[in-house]
């Protein structure tokens, strides 16, 4: 794997996005709108405390937002036949995978930098500054899993007839373990505060998920991206 090639592909993706910003802007708007929708959907009465839903709301939003982003990130490659050019270059397929995954990860992190403070303002009553470190670790570990698996599956779905219709159907059932672990850990932080010991199992689980699917994607990406 060539580090230079990795940087070149990543740089290309970042520059392309930062020029138009169409994907980032729509993802951020989607995330903010989702929060407003959640507010209305869950406004069932004064007595209902949303605190124990916050982790779930946050991760559902991010996973759906990522679906939007993943579709975009490959649509352009395919439409303008950029991918054919990329595949003609003497670049290891795995390098393409890693660059794409890191690119998607950066976009997701940018979204979260905007979304998490707003979400906290809207829904979280407890100050979780003391747990911020753990929260960031959860965020990063879950993001890596979402982006690695998402990039692999988006590569497959972009080659098919129905493209963006297919991606949610194959992506959502596979990402459930991340949703469960990240939601449980995040809700713990938003609702009552946690110690490192009490979320350690979830963090290890997320780390294991990332490792397993990075290896699985490493082994199968050659086949997913096609000749």
């Amino acid at each position: 794997m060539g580090l230079q090639q990795f940087i070149a592909i990543l740089r290309k993706d970042l520059i392309r996005e930062l020029r138009t910003r169409e994907m980032l802007i729509s993802m951020i708007l989607f995330v903010l709108l989702a929060m407003v929708i959640f507010h209305y959907a869950f406004s069932v009465g004064e007595s209902v405390d949303l605190t124990y839903f916050t982790g779930g709301m946050l991760w559902v939003t991010f996973i759906f937002a990522m679906l939007l982003g993943l579709n975009r990130s490959f649509a352009q490659e395919k439409d303008e036949r950029c991918l054919d050019g990329l595949l003609l270059c003497p670049v290891d397929r795995v390098t393409i995978f890693l660059a794409k995954t890191v690119g998607n990860l950066i976009f997701l992190l940018i979204i979260q930098v905007v979304a998490v403070p707003v979400f906290t303002l809207f829904f979280v009553e407890r100050s979780y500054l003391g747990d911020l470190g753990i929260f960031l670790v959860i965020l990063l570990l879950a993001d890596v899993g979402i982006c690695a698996l998402g990039t692999l599956l988006a590569t497959i779905s972009m080659h098919t007839r129905s493209r963006d219709l297919l991606l949610p159907i194959i992506f959502l059932p596979l990402i459930v373990p991340v949703l469960i672990a990240a939601t449980a850990a995040t809700t713990g932080i938003f609702a009552e505060g946690v110690s490192l010991g009490s979320v350690a199992a979830r963090l290890l689980f997320l780390l294991g998920f990332d490792a397993v699917f990075l290896v699985a994607a490493y082994g199968t990406y050659d086949f997913a991206i096609g000749e």
């Binding site: 596979l174 469960i180 199968t220």
Partner: protein
Amino acid sequence: MKKLVSAPALFAEAGACLIIGLLLGFWYAPTDASSMGFSQKIFYYHAPIAETALVAFGVAFVAAILYLRSQDSRWDRLGVVSVRLGLLFSLLVMITGMIWGKAAWDAWWAWEPRLTTFLLVCFLYIAYFVLRSVVEEEQRRATFAAVFAIIAFIDVPITFFATRFLPEGLHPVVISAGDSGMEGSMLLSFLISMLGMTLLLAALIRRDLGVEELKDRVADLKSTIGG
């Protein structure tokens, strides 16, 4: 030896084991002493079906790896056949599980880790067929399906593990590490049913493989005569 594993022979062996297992389960094994009582009898079918569904997906996983290594369409056929049968068995797990649930907990559906995992497994492998249906080119379809079958099979145990982060379930844990949790007569009935169900899977795989081969040959012949 060859005669013993022909499709008709396998069907006969499976039928014999399943009938003997059922007879033993009802008349030889004692009625469960715990709160389950008579409803526990469905266990001799429910658990072997669940195990067989996982075996079928395991076969599909191995077939997928072999396909990616050899690009031989025979492995793709084995993959399709086993996923289809695995899906069928998973549906049966859900149905027998719901019947048991109604008897034991007085509820047709409970969000219980195992039941929930199987529901997700159903969605995962339905997605496998959706994926197949939207790729036109034969070789590409087989390759994508293989990649997905590998990822999906890895995801199943991870999902099951993740459900442990959820609140406690209702499902009876019959077999835990180091303890089969059953007395001899129950275990014998269970094992014979399990053998029967696995043989049934083998018989169905053999038969379906023959059908798929014929389908491919018909398609080839049609294209030769320009039909």
